[in-house]
C-alpha cells in the first residue's frame, strides 16, 4: 500500500497536471449533473457518497500524506454526528450551532487522540487509534442517559427548506466542493510537503530541524476537523445517530474508501466512496450480508490492488511514459 508517486515528482510537469485537471473537471461535472439523471432515491445515495468522500479524504490526509493509517476517524466523525443530533433534539438548539459544536467536539477529540498517537508509527499507530476509537464506541453504547444507548438519538437537524432530496444534495455538493478545495490546498501547501517528508523519513525531517511531533499533531487534528465536518453533514443527512455511526466499521469503511480510490491521491476518495457505497447499495438488493462483502472487498484489495483505482492508473500512466 505504498502511496502512489505524485505527478509533480515524475519529472514531466506539463502532461500530468493537465490530465489531472481534466479529471477533476470531469468528476465535478459528474457530481453536478448526476442527480438530474437518476431517480429520487439515488440522489440520497449520491449525497451519502459526497459526505463519505470527505471522511475518506480526512483518512487520506493521515494515511497518504503522513504515512500513518488511522482507524479512529470514523469515531471522530460519529462524535460530531452525536453532538449535532444531541444539540438539536435533546437541547432543542439550532442545527447550524449544533453542527458548529459537533465539529468543535470532533476537533477536540482528535486533538486528544493526536497527543496520544503521534509518538507511534506503523502498526502501533493503527492499533492505538483502533483502541481509541473503540473507547468512543463504548461510551456511546453505555452512556444511555445521554446517547440513548443502542436505540440512538433521533434529531431535528435538517431544516424544512432542505427537506427535499434535490436542494439538500446541492447544498452538500457546494459544501463538499469548498471543503475539497481547502483540503487540496492543505496537502499541496509547504506544510503538506513537510508531511510527505515525514512519511518518507521522519528521522531525516527531524535532523533537518522540523518539529515532527508538532506537524503530526496538526495533521491529525486537521484530519479530525474534516472528519467532524463530514459527521456534521451526516447528522443533517440522516437525522439519526446510533452506536453503529461510531463503530469500527465506520472507520474501516472510511479507510477502505481511501484505499480503493488510492491512498495519497486525495481525489481518489470520491472514486472510492462511489465504488463502496455503490457496491453496498447494489449488494443490498440481493443479500443482507453487506459485512461479508465488505470483508471480501478488503481482502481482495489488499491482495490484488493495494494502490487503489486512482493509484493504479497513475502508476500505469507513469510506466507508459517510461
Amino acid at each position: 500500500m505504498t502511496p502512489a508517486p505524485t505527478p509533480a515528482a515524475a519529472g514531466k510537469p506539463s502532461f500530468m497536471p493537465r490530465l489531472g485537471l481534466a479529471a477533476v473537471i470531469l468528476g465535478t461535472l459528474f457530481f453536478a449533473i448526476a442527480p438530474l439523471l437518476v431517480p429520487t432515491y439515488q440522489i440520497s445515495i449520491l449525497t451519502e457518497v459526497l459526505i463519505y468522500a470527505v471522511l475518506a479524504m480526512s483518512v487520506d490526509i493521515l494515511a497518504g500524506y503522513t504515512g500513518r493509517t488511522p482507524l479512529c476517524l470514523g469515531a471522530v466523525f460519529g462524535v460530531s454526528t452525536y453532538v449535532t443530533v444531541y444539540w438539536t433534539s435533546t437541547m432543542g438548539g439550532s442545527p447550524y450551532t449544533g453542527m458548529m459544536l459537533g465539529i468543535l467536539a470532533a476537533t477536540l477529540v482528535a486533538a486528544i487522540f493526536a497527543i496520544l498517537a503521534i509518538r507511534t508509527t506503523g502498526v502501533y499507530f493503527l492499533l492505538l487509534t483502533l483502541a481509541l476509537g473503540m473507547i468512543i464506541w463504548g461510551i456511546c453504547l453505555r452512556w444511555t442517559s445521554v446517547t440513548g444507548g443502542e436505540n440512538g438519538l433521533r434529531g431535528a437537524v435538517r431544516p424544512a427548506e432542505l427537506a427535499a432530496h434535490m436542494p439538500f444534495y446541492y447544498v452538500v455538493f457546494v459544501a463538499v466542493a469548498i471543503i475539497t478545495f481547502i483540503m487540496w490546498r492543505f496537502v499541496r501547501s509547504p506544510f503538506g510537503l513537510t508531511l510527505r517528508g515525514i512519511r518518507d523519513s521522519d528521522s531525516r525531517m527531524r535532523s533537518l530541524g522540523y518539529n515532527v511531533s508538532l506537524h503530526m499533531f496538526i495533521a491529525f487534528t486537521v484530519a479530525g476537523v474534516f472528519a467532524g465536518v463530514a459527521g456534521a453533514l451526516y447528522a443533517m443527512f440522516n437525522d439519526f445517530v446510533s452506536p453503529s455511526t461510531v463503530a469500527l466499521t465506520q472507520s474501516v469503511e472510511g479507510l477502505l474508501m481511501a484505499i480503493t480510490g488510492g491512498v495519497g491521491t486525495l481525489f481518489g476518495s470520491f472514486i472510492g466512496a462511489l465504488a463502496i457505497i455503490g457496491l453496498e447499495n447494489a449488494v443490498s438488493i440481493y443479500t443482507e450480508r453487506w459485512q461479508t462483502v465488505l470483508g471480501l472487498v478488503f481482502i481482495f484489495i489488499m491482495i490484488f490492488a493495494p494502490d487503489g483505482i486512482l493509484g493504479g492508473i497513475k502508476t500505469l500512466l507513469a510506466r507508459k511514459r517510461g
Binding site: 493503527l126 483502541a131 461510551i139 484505499i259 450480508r289 478488503f298 489488499m302
Partner: protein
C-alpha cells in the same frame, strides 16, 4: 459508588486469566510473525461457538474445548497459508487483510448462529459455588483462573525450556539469521500462528461458559486483547500477563464504580503508559 469487595476482586482476577489466554495467542503471533491479527476476536468467537456446538451434542466439555482449539487452529492454518502468504512482508496490508477476514467470519457466524446468546455448558463438577473465606464463589470461575495460570506456565516452559521455544525466541529477534542457519523458519512461523489461533479458540471455549457468546463479543474481546498487548508490549509473555491483570482489574473497578465509563477506565491508564513507553511495558524495539 460502591467499594470493591473480595468477590469483585476475584471476578477481576478470573477475567484477567481469560484475557491472558486470549491475548497470549495474539501477542505470540504479533511478536514472531509481526502480524497484527485483527481476526483474533473472530477466532475467539468461532472457538466459543464450536465448543458450544460440540459440548452440547456430545455432552462433554472437554470434547468441546478440544474441538474448538482444533477448529480454530485449522482456521488459522487456512488464513495463513491461503491468504496471508500473498501479502507477506507488507505489515499494513497484513493487518487490513485480517481485518477483512474478521468481518467475514463475524458475519458468517451471525448467519449460522443468529443473534442469540449462547452459553457453553460447563461440566457438572464445575457448576455451583465453592465456599471459602466466608463467601461463596463460582467453581467455574476459579477453574478459569487456574487454567490461566496453567497456560502461563506451559507457555513459559515452551518458550524458555524447549528447542521449539528457543527457535521461536530467536525468530522474534532475527528471523533471517535463523533461516540462514538452515532452519525452516516458515514452518515455525506457521506453528506459532496455529498455536496462537488455538489459544484464541481455547479462550472462546472457556470464556463462552461464563461471559456468554453473542455476535459482538468478538469485537469486545479483540479490544481487550489489544489493550493487553499495547500495555504489555509486543511478543512478551510476561507483558501479556501483567497487561491482562491490569486490564482485568481496571475493567472490574470501572464496572463497579463508573458503569457507563468502564471502557474509559481501561484505556486511560493504557494511554498514560503509552505516553511514557510507546512500545509497552515489556516491549522492545524490533
Amino acid at each position: 459508588m460502591s467499594s470493591l469487595n473480595t468477590f469483585q476482586l476475584l471476578n477481576g482476577l478470573t477475567f484477567a486469566a481469560l484475557l491472558f489466554i486470549v491475548a497470549s495467542g495474539f501477542t505470540l503471533i504479533f511478536g514472531l510473525l509481526r502480524i497484527v491479527n485483527l481476526a483474533h476476536g473472530a477466532l475467539y468467537l468461532l472457538g466459543g461457538y464450536c465448543a458450544y456446538a460440540m459440548a452440547s451434542t456430545t455432552g462433554s466439555f472437554m470434547v468441546g474445548i478440544l474441538a474448538a482449539m482444533a477448529a480454530v487452529a485449522v482456521t488459522g492454518l487456512i488464513l495463513d497459508q491461503g491468504l496471508l502468504r500473498f501479502v507477506r512482508g507488507h505489515e499494513l496490508r497484513q493487518v487490513l487483510l485480517t481485518l477483512g477476514v474478521g468481518l467475514v467470519l463475524n458475519d458468517m457466524m451471525l448467519v449460522v448462529f443468529g443473534g442469540d446468546t449462547y452459553t457453553v455448558p460447563a461440566p457438572e463438577f464445575l457448576q455451583g459455588a465453592l465456599r471459602f473465606a466466608g463467601m461463596f464463589y463460582p467453581k467455574y470461575r476459579l477453574f478459569v483462573l487456574a487454567l490461566g495460570v496453567l497456560i502461563f506456565i506451559l507457555l513459559w516452559v515452551l518458550l524458555n525450556k524447549t528447542r521449539l521455544g528457543a527457535l521461536i525466541r530467536a525468530g522474534v529477534d532475527d528471523p533471517e539469521t535463523i533461516a540462514a542457519l538452515g532452519i525452516n523458519i516458515r514452518r515455525i512461523f506457521l506453528l506459532t500462528f496455529m498455536l496462537g489461533a488455538a489459544l484464541a479458540g481455547l479462550g472462546g471455549a472457556v470464556g463462552g461458559a461464563f461471559l456468554t457468546l453473542y455476535p459482538s463479543a468478538d469485537a469486545e474481546i479483540l479490544v481487550f486483547s489489544l489493550a493487553v498487548v499495547i500495555i504489555g508490549g509486543r511478543g512478551s509473555l510476561v507483558g501479556a500477563a501483567v497487561g491482562a491483570l491490569m486490564v482485568g482489574m481496571l475493567n472490574t473497578v470501572g464496572q463497579v464504580m463508573f458503569p457507563e465509563f468502564a471502557y474509559f477506565v481501561i484505556f486511560g491508564p493504557m494511554a498514560a503508559i503509552l505516553a511514557f513507553r510507546p512500545l509497552g511495558l515489556f516491549g522492545r524495539t524490533a
